[in-house]
């Protein structure tokens, strides 16, 4: 919403400065986005006088002017000027070298024009950004003092641009803004008196609602026929105002509607009455009816849209835009003025569907004052008569204002309770009355009964009045109070949250960099990772390659790793902790810590050569994240199975009983191809919510350390087992052979090759025996060894390697 200072002052009696007005606007919720004050730019321009003007020796249309600056002791300047009115004796606006010309943004320099030096410039209105006039240079009044700043001899109209929140349709007009400022103590709202214009004849065009539905869609339509007008330019001050707020003056009849729209938030429309056929029916459109609108585009209407129709069909899209064919032109003689009310929701829907952003739609969908239809017609009539002449008919009034009268109570105690500021009934009453409310009653407790003004559809309950009182009183005057709180803060993160934080920091500690990637991705990528179901599509994706919810984080990490490689940063190690989606319903998502490593294990190094990343890197990442998340990693089983996006032979699942805690392994080469990325890539997905919560314990005390005083003994065993036997089953069998004595089993060698028969492999383990009672004898060690060999044989068929 834009307006100028002079326009505001038509409604607000105030001496406040531009800065003070801007500050207060922002602090009452009418946020100032820009203030354009021409004075700030024009202050360096000065008044000068042309003392002589001669023909330029080398150009017919240029004049060689001698210009007196008024600066004491300064010689007259020589300025070449092409303006037809450049002549001796006039006072002009002087720009000197070094100054910026507002229109072009160019810095003025001394230069030669057709061989003659020019030491400055005399400006036209357009060059100073003061309108369109470029027919000649500005001629200042004769008594303008020489050398004075332009801002001391001309008045300028600063322009405000403010953002209006959707709840304040009343401030889409200058008068509403003035009212708020007056309430906030920045001046006095000037009274508005609108004398009805008496009609002299009955309008030949009638207005009829054809049905209740039509009446509901357009509850009130006020019309007036004005005959014998003469369309032309509107007065200069009107054109200046419209230009200042970025509107293009068109003709008096059109400018009337724009001026009233911006001044009173009251959209109007003016038809060329001679182009209308028969009477006006504001009605819901019939399917397929079309209209060529003022923006010269054709729109197809539906029964949801309101058409302002004559006997031939829609001549306007009600509340949105007029029709081109019945619009006013230079030759318009008889007009029909429309001042109507529409159902805001319908206007919003129509505007949205047709994609029309008009000043009328903007106001109607937010809510136009229901009592403004007659007022608007009278204001419009008055301006048309003033600017274009003509003779008005009696007013036509179809329908009535929709009910708006709402009595709302306000207990000043609520202002204190909700806003923490003490305002008594009197203070509340003053503010509300300034805003146009009527206080109907005040009870002994001080509770007010308030009738809201018709132009404030946002006020419907007590809290709305509380807000108004607090807003005008000023949020800055609400005392700042510290929140009461426990003297010693308690833990606030849940177990799940702390485990997520720990997993994240564990992965970062292992050298992976955390990413945050989109929750959506290309559908082809979703399909490669078990997703892509229609329920997880986006109906309106931001782009065609972000059209499905991600079923896994990995495709995003893989493509991110490739982008890094393409930028010359290979061997990415990335992770993300975030949701993946398993369905289209709320809650069908998992919290996953996903890690991915690409390429080599590290950079080339003089002593530690890198190797391609492999599944065990991913397994280590998964186990680290699980350990940080509190999973009992020593008790997990590794199964040689994983979803289809992993390499079938080089991937696994980490399980706790039947519960899947993580997948890890090489990413399937076919999937890498689908993602258009280069391998090798290894990855893991850890399901943080699947990690069992630690058991609640009464104390934080740990069990007593039972460190044995006796030296542990290590013995190595190499077993020959069928090649499909999992190393983990050898370890598990050995560990279980003598639970009291065996403290640990680790695999230190795996061999498969010529020295073994085909289909066999050797798994060598180191078993740690930890005595607790006394030092082990050789016999006891041998007995334990026999148990281990027997247990492994029983579990795997493995024999001790000879």
């Amino acid at each position: 919403m834009k307006f100028t200072l002079s326009w505001l002052k038509d409604h607000l009696e105030t001496d406040a400065s531009v800065e003070a007005i801007a500050e207060r606007l922002t602090m009452i919720g009418l946020e100032v986005e820009a203030v354009e004050d021409p004075a700030a730019v024009l202050a360096p321009f000065t008044v000068a006088e042309v003392v002589a003007a001669e023909q330029h020796p080398n150009a017919d249309k240029l004049r060689l002017c001698t210009v007196r600056t008024g600066t004491a002791g300064e010689a007259d300047l020589q300025i070449i000027c092409g303006a037809p009115n450049a002549r001796a004796g006039i006072k002009v606006v002087l720009a000197r070298p070094g100054m910026t010309i507002p229109e072009s943004g160019m810095v003025l320099k001394t230069g030669k024009i057709r061989g003659v030096e020019s030491q400055g410039m005399m400006c036209s209105a357009r060059e100073l950004g003061l309108g369109d006039d470029h027919s000649g240079i500005i001629e200042l009044p004769e008594d303008a003092p020489l050398g004075a700043s332009l801002i001391d001899v001309m008045t300028f109209d600063p322009m405000f641009d403010i953002a209006i929140t959707p709840n304040r349709p009343d401030c889409l007009g200058v008068r509403g803004v003035a009212r708020d400022l007056a309430a906030a103590g920045l001046g006095t709202l000037k009274p508005l008196t609108v004398e009805p214009v008496p009609g002299t004849f009955d309008s030949p065009i009638a207005v009829r609602h054809d049905s209740d539905a039509d009446q509901e869609a357009c509850p009130m339509f006020v019309g007036r026929y004005i005959r014998g007008v003469k369309n032309g330019d509107s007065p200069q001050w009107v054109k200046d105002r419209l230009t200042a707020i970025g509107l293009r003056p068109i003709s008096a009849l059109v400018d009337v509607t724009n001026l009233i729209s911006y001044e009173f938030a009251r959209p109007l429309h003016v038809f060329d009455a001679d182009k209308l056929k028969g009477h006006i029916h504001p009605r819901l459109a019939r399917p397929g009816e079309t209209i060529l609108a003022l923006d010269e585009k054709e729109y197809v209407l539906t029964p949801e849209d309101v058409g302002i129709c004559d006997e031939a069909g829609p001549q306007g899209i009600g509340g949105v835009m007029g029709g081109l064919e019945t619009g006013c032109t230079e030759s318009t003689v008889n007009v029909f003025l429309e001042s109507a009310l529409f159902d805001p929701r319908r206007i919003a829907a129509t505007g949205r569907r047709l994609g029309i952003d008009s000043d009328a739609r903007y106001r109607f969908e937010r809510g136009v004052d229901p009592e403004s239809a007659i007022l608007g017609a009278e204001l419009g009539t008055r301006l048309i008569l003033d600017w274009c002449g003509g003779e008005p008919s009696h007013l036509l009034i179809a329908g009535a204002p929709p009910a708006w009268r709402t009595e709302v109570p306000l207990d000043p105690a609520r202002v204190r309770a909700l806003c923490g500021v003490n305002l008594d009934s009197r203070a509340c009453r003053r503010i509300l009355e300034d805003l146009g409310c009527e206080v109907l009653a005040q009870d002994v407790e001080g509770v007010l009964t308030v009738l809201r003004p018709s132009w404030r559809p946002d006020i419907s309950a007590e809290h709305d009045l509380v807000e108004e009182v607090a807003r005008i009183h000023g949020f800055d005057r609400i005392p700042t109070v510290s929140m009461p709180r426990d003297p010693m803060p308690k833990q606030v993160l849940t177990g799940e949250q702390t485990r997520r934080v720990a997993a994240r920091r564990a992965l970062a500690g292992r050298g992976l960099s955390e990413c945050v990637t989109w929750s959506f991705l290309p559908k082809a990528h979703a399909e490669a990772f078990g997703g892509g179901q229609p329920a997880m599509d986006l109906a309106n994706p931001i782009s065609s390659d972000l059209d499905a919810m991600r079923p896994s984080i990995l495709p995003n990490l893989a493509t991110a790793a490739q982008r890094n490689a393409d930028r010359g940063v290979p061997n990415a190690a990335l992770f993300e902790v975030g949701p993946d989606f398993q369905g289209g319903e709320p809650g069908e998502q998992r919290m996953v810590a996903a890690g991915l490593r690409a390429g080599q294990s590290g950079p080339r190094h003089w002593d530690a050569p890198p190797r391609p990343v492999d599944a065990f890197d991913a397994k280590a990442d998964a186990l680290a994240a699980l350990a940080a998340a509190g999973a009992p990693v020593d008790n997990l089983q590794t199964a040689a199975e994983a979803p289809a996006w992993y390499h079938p032979g080089r991937s696994g699942t980490l399980k706790l009983g039947p519960k899947v805690l993580a997948w890890f392994g090489e990413v399937h080469p076919g999937v890498l191809k689908t993602l258009d990325v280069k391998g090798p890539m290894v990855a893991c997905e850890v399901f943080l919510e699947a990690v069992p919560a630690p058991k609640a314990k009464a104390t934080k005390a740990r069990p007593l350390l039972a460190a044995s005083p006796f030296h542990p003994v290590e013995r190595d065993f190499a077993f020959v087992v069928p090649e499909d036997v999992a190393a983990e089953s050898v370890v598990r069998a050995a560990t279980g052979a003598d639970k009291a004595l065996i403290a640990g089993v680790s695999v230190f060698d795996v061999y498969q090759g010529d020295r073994l028969e085909a289909g066999k492999k050797s798994v060598a383990v180191c078993v740690t025996l930890q005595p607790t009672e006394r030092t082990l004898t050789d016999e006891e060690i041998d007995a334990a060894g026999k148990k281990i060999v027997a247990a492994v044989k029983k579990a795997t068929g493995g024999e001790l390697r000879g």
Binding site: P166, L418, A470, F475, D486, L493, W518, A535, L546, A560
Partner: protein
């Protein structure tokens, strides 16, 4: 012995203190070995013993290396060694002579053994010095590579914000990214077709069997609704998380992060809202007395509503929070609208409170000087390493939030 050797070699290099004393002891032992005290009653055979001792002592002193020294030891003290052989003669002596001679012989034997050990230590020290002189690394070579990972600024901000509000007693609440219309809009007092719904460029999922459409949450406010519907006041929660709006340009991304705060009880008012946010801003930006401006605004789910600006300066293109005369909008807030309380099953005549919403990328950008919102989601390792945080940089109030 090893320790003594080590000490000796180190004392030779450092030349002082404790080690000097040890070296003295060592020297004393050598002198003792060279000049054993002779028994006054020794006869002619003692001359042989003296000769043997002198001879062996000379051999020990002259042994050029550890191998030669071992040969001397075998020659003297081995099973067939000369001292051993001499000791065997004791068996043929009468008890009186044997006692005297035995003592003398043992004395010689001990002296030679001590001399051999002393010589061994000296030779080993020389050998170690020689070895250390040979062993040289180019210590300017780089150590073996280790990867340094990083924490994304959004996660770091999450941790910082949770630390600050945790101190004020806010729990962290979470909810689903895919939401239904009720939680995202209706319960938050967005009337159907109200222009406010258009302020949110909502992502929709396909129509469900009943014709309704789920959305990607446009804010984390649905978590407020879920919390109020599942928990009795008093409520203090922080709801950080991903949000989605169909918008993409210099300053908008289709996904972003927000944290929403909600306080519901019977007495919290707008003054507390101001206090809470003032404390947050000062703690988060680690600047005292940040000027703040609460401007009336409009959100469907709060009334009164405000937008909050903080004071800053932009001198020389550098943004400084808390100084200067410019204002920077950082969040929206307000008192929870009674309609929201009612939708969540709370009695608005009894309960009241405030809510606020902050863009996490925005405050991270302001605090850490990150210039471009879109880079948060590009996974560019150069960016992640530059703007990211070390794994162990866990923000705490007592240890400091920012790094």
């Amino acid at each position: 012995m090893y320790s003594m050797r080590l000490l000796h070699s180190r004392s030779a290099r450092t030349g002082g203190g404790l080690f000097f004393t040890v070296r003295e002891c060592y020297a004393t032992a050598r002198v003792g070995a060279c000049a054993p005290e002779l028994h006054p009653l020794m006869d002619g055979s003692m001359d042989d013993l003296d000769t043997l001792r002198d001879e062996l002592m000379t051999a020990v002193e002259g042994a050029p290396d550890l191998g030669a020294l071992e040969e001397v030891r075998v020659t003297a003290l081995g099973k067939k060694g000369r001292v051993t052989a001499l000791m065997k003669t004791l068996g043929g002596m009468d008890p009186e002579t044997r006692k005297t001679a035995g003592q003398e012989m043992n004395r010689v034997k001990d002296a030679i053994a001590a001399a051999i050990e002393a010589r061994r230590a000296a030779l080993e020290a020389v050998e170690l010095d020689a070895r250390l002189a040979r062993e040289r690394l180019d210590v300017t070579l780089p150590a073996r590579p280790e990867r340094a990972g990083s924490i994304h600024p959004i996660s770091q901000t999450w941790d910082e914000v949770a630390a600050i509000f945790g101190q004020m007693g806010f729990a962290v609440a979470e909810g689903p990214d895919i939401e239904d219309d009720f939680h995202n809009f209706t319960a938050l007092n967005f009337p159907p077709d109200h222009p406010a719904r258009e302020m949110h460029d909502t992502f929709f999922l396909p129509p469900r069997a009943d014709g309704s459409r789920h959305v990607l949450r446009t804010h984390t406010s649905p978590v407020q609704v879920r919390t109020m519907m599942s928990q009795e006041p008093p409520i203090r929660i922080l709801a950080p998380g991903r949000c989605y709006r169909s918008d993409s340009d210099m300053t908008h991304t289709p996904m972003f992060h927000q944290f929403e705060g909600l306080v519901i009880d019977e007495s919290t008012h707008m003054g507390h809202l101001k206090g809470c946010l003032q404390e947050f801003v000062e703690a988060y930006f680690e600047v005292e007395n940040v000027p703040m401006r609460f401007r009336p605004s409009f959100f469907p789910f709060t009334e009164p509503s405000a937008e909050v600006d903080i004071g800053c300066s932009r001198k020389g293109g550098e943004l400084r929070i808390g100084a200067g005369d410019a204002w920077l909008e950082i969040l929206g807030c307000g008192m929870v609208h009674p309609n929201v309380l009612v939708a969540c099953g709370l009695d608005p005549t009894r309960y009241q409170g405030f809510a606020f919403g902050v863009g996490m990328e925005r405050i991270a950008m302001l605090k850490y000087g990150i210039p471009d919102l879109r880079t948060f989601f590009e996974s560019d390792l150069r960016w992640l390493r530059h703007y990211g945080f070390a794994a162990l940089d866990v923000p705490t109030l007592h240890g400091g939030l920012g790094r």
